[in-house]
């Protein structure tokens, strides 16, 4: 690049003029190409990566009250209650008489916590359904976000559903008094 400057300086002398012109005919483009590719990389990555991710969520139709009373096998259902300050309680079956090993228990979010529980429960439900001759009946998870839970908690749980690949899950907003009590701390 420095060669560019020498061109104008030697303009007066005839002999040198020719020489400097010949030198100028080849500009070093390395730096320019470097810069161009750097910018290309930048624009390529920003255009493709800036598109936000999204999670599909399908909710049941609100008006159809008829299908709310379908009886489901209590051995297949797990209820997850989401409370404030990242509190998470789950129980299996009916709250008053939970399935063996499914009594209300606190869990933490993430790999070691609720995911391990979901995976093991999924396996046992599958074994249970296969024993009954209906291996297609997988686990059902009922998600109950309380009023104090945050959006992050809900997305985290929905994400766990996607990771664990739970076949059926639903978000339910009704809280029974017992469930509210459970979330507020074990005062029973």
């Amino acid at each position: 690049m420095a060669e560019l400057n020498t061109g104008d300086g030697g303009g007066k002398k005839g002999g040198k003029k020719v020489r400097s012109k010949k030198q100028n005919s080849k500009v070093d483009l390395t730096a320019m190409v470097d810069l161009a590719f750097l910018l290309i990389t930048f624009f390529m990555l920003t255009t493709t990566l800036s598109k936000p991710q999204s999670m599909e969520l399908g909710l049941p139709d609100k008006d159809e009250k008829t299908d709310t009373n379908i009886k489901v096998d209590e051995n297949r259902t797990m209820t997850i209650l989401i409370g404030k300050d990242n509190k998470l309680v789950r129980y299996v079956g009916i709250l008053a008489s939970p399935v063996a090993g499914g009594a209300p228990k606190d869990f933490v979010y993430g790999k070691e916590g609720i995911r391990a529980e979901l995976l093991s429960r999924k396996k046992s439900v599958l074994a249970y359904s296969t024993a009954k001759g209906k291996p297609k009946n997988g686990m059902i998870v009922i998600i109950k976000p309380s009023k104090k839970s945050t959006y992050r908690n809900l997305v985290d749980i929905l994400d766990e559903m996607a990771i664990v690949d739970v076949p059926t899950y639903a978000i339910v907003n009704d809280f029974t008094p017992e469930e509210t009590k459970l979330l507020e701390g074990k005062k029973e």
Binding site: Q53, D61, R152, V155
Partner: protein, 202 residues
């Protein structure tokens, strides 16, 4: 011989390479769309799901600090939606207002104040402290926006509009549920939740 060829190789003609590089650069710069500053910046929660948001026929409802902002993709649909809303609430918008509205990003003001927001520059809009679109049962403008955007999209593109909810991670569940309820009241039962990306080991 070996020494001679090595010396020759030290300066390659990079003109063609440079040409190609700048051609690509120009292409990427031109295709990249300038990012409109978000009227309500939110910190979306992250998930492992890798579905991308659709690029067209999309309404994004941004929820944060108990406020809801509305954003719609597609200029013609935006103009038509604004016309329908203006008709419904009896607010006048000039031709310039409509064009400016079709270019701006999300907004969160009652329709009575929308004209002032349209007249601002995009930097002013961010600072304006928009109060969010009214969504309570007495004055449910959000439901009207959703409804009219769907009508406009069907009129212009003959396609059903899709909805995305972009909530702040710290937002409490009831305000998210309120928006979901408004969508569900119109039988929009399927929508996307905008999230960031993370790995499975958390």
């Amino acid at each position: 011989m070996a020494v001679k060829t090595q010396k020759k190789a030290t300066s390659i003609d990079m003109t063609a390479m440079c040409d190609v590089a700048f051609l690509l650069l120009t292409f990427f710069i031109l295709t990249a769309t300038a990012k409109i500053p978000e009227a309500l910046p939110v910190d979306a929660p992250s998930s492992t799901v890798q579905t991308k948001l659709p690029e067209s026929d999309l309404v994004t409802l941004t929820i944060g600090k108990n406020k809801v902002f509305f954003d719609l993709i597609g200029r013609e649909v935006r103009i038509r939606t604004l016309e329908l809303m203006a008709e419904k609430y009896g607010v006048e918008f000039s031709e310039d207002d409509r064009i400016e509205f079709s270019k701006m990003g999300g907004f969160g003001v009652p329709i009575e104040n929308l004209k002032q927001i349209i007249e601002m520059t995009s930097a002013e809009r961010v600072k304006a402290g928009q109060p969010g679109i009214p969504k309570d049962s007495l004055d449910n403008q959000l439901a009207e926006w959703v409804q009219n955007a769907r009508i406009a999209n069907i009129e212009i593109k003959d396609k059903e509009l899709q909805f995305a909810i972009k909530g702040d991670a710290k937002e409490e569940y009831p305000s998210i549920r309120k928006v979901m309820d408004i969508l569900q009241d119109q039988k929009v039962n399927s929508f996307s939740l905008v999230t960031g990306l993370r790995g499975k080991d958390f």
